[in-house]
Subunit: 213 residues, 2 copies
DNA sequence: TATAACCGACAGGCTGTCGGTCAGGAACAG
DNA sequence: CTGTTCCTGACCGACAGCCTGTCGGTTATA
């Protein structure tokens, strides 16, 4: 039997199914057939709404990251909170790895696995594009307040975020010892690059890492 | 007609073909059929020597990066040259992007293109694993000589190399203005993180970037 | 003559296309 | 207000065409 729905609703259903499947099996191992079956639609319908499998991935990433970044922005702009604390909260708001009912939780878990290179790459790029400007804005505020002293707020943030998302990543397998040293080094480097007082970032950043990066 | 060769020779032929094809069309768009045709062998032969398409990719990356890293190591260990200069030369020795007849030249060009997520990921990881320890060794030498002052040679190097290979990458499209600012920031950050004298890295690093990263 | 290297047909899976179908609202007549 | 017609956005599923990896059988050569 044939069920007709509004385009946006169907699209959303398809994305829901894709999200679950990509989360469970990864992007490459999920076939469009799997998605069809789960949504309960025919091949043609899928390709009526999306032009390719990769198009589904793009839409899904946008849906997930859009929500994520929007939340981060909201946290970041609450000027009643001190800058450093706001940076911590902004980053925490995106800590999808640990929270349970966070948006896209399973997908981002899956992203770390060896397969899914494409998914990983796209999510990382999109996240970087979204997050770096927000955090860089906070760094500039810190500059203005005299908490930080960096001539390159954007580039500094870029460097720190890139390092963090790459190295503190499940794929980067490392012993707890290496991990601890990297965290230590990272905090030290953050202070150096931001021009923050030595030791001033230890406590806040430790909070971030405790929740598991 | 049937031509029999030694396993190593055939393997090498297959890798040659794969290298050319991956360079021209990328990994994902190259089919095993393309490789068969170019080498002039049958399907079964290919799978006699390699267990999967991805296995070919892995072998190819190892062949390319192995040569690259070996060369870099050689440059790095020539103790008659000052440390900073040796760092420059080591990096230059791997500047595959600009040289013409360098090993794996086209492949690495191709790697930057939007497709080929898997290839990009694997090459980057393998390069990082190979290069970082070598450069970190040089940083330690610099530390010992009092040119640098960093408590985390490995982690610092890791951060700098990771940033460089990611941001100064064709895929990261940016205007010449942004690029220039990023280079400027990068040099400044390098000095800060390595604990080098301010301005001391400008000239050497400019040489590196001039040859086009 | 043993076996390493080779062959090619074939199974099974996948993505994307395309001509055709159908539901349900708009428009219009009665 | 009700019945009818028509239009079109949403939907269907068979199918073409590609792909990877397997396997039983074949041949060169040491």
């Amino acid at each position: 039997m044939r069920i007709v729905k509004e385009a946006e609703e169907r699209k959303s259903e398809i994305l829901d199914a894709a999200e679950e499947l990509f989360a469970a099996k990864g992007y490459e191992r999920t076939s469009t057939g799997d998605i069809l079956e789960r949504v309960g639609i025919a091949r043609g319908t899928l390709y009526y709404h999306f032009k390719s499998k990769e198009d589904i991935l793009d839409a899904l990433i946008e849906r997930i990251n859009g929500t994520l970044i929007a939340g981060a922005k909201k946290v970041a702009e609450d000027q009643s909170i001190p800058v450093v604390e706001r940076i911590v909260r902004t980053i925490m708001s995106m800590k999808v790895d640990s929270g349970e009912d966070t948006i896209g939780h399973e997908v981002i878990q899956q992203v770390h696995k060896p397969q899914n290179a494409l998914m990983h790459q796209k999510m990382q790029q999109s996240l970087l594009d979204g997050v770096v400007p927000v955090l860089a804005g906070l760094v500039e505020e810190g500059n203005a307040q005299g908490v930080f002293h960096t001539g390159f707020p954007l580039e500094t943030t870029e460097m720190l975020v890139l390092y963090a998302v790459t190295v503190f990543d499940d794929r980067f397998q490392q012993t707890p010892g290496q991990m601890k040293k990297r965290v230590q080094a990272f905090i030290h480097h953050t202070e150096k690059l931001l021009g923050a007082k030595e030791g001033s970032m230890t406590a806040p950043m430790t909070r971030i890492f405790q929740q598991g990066f």
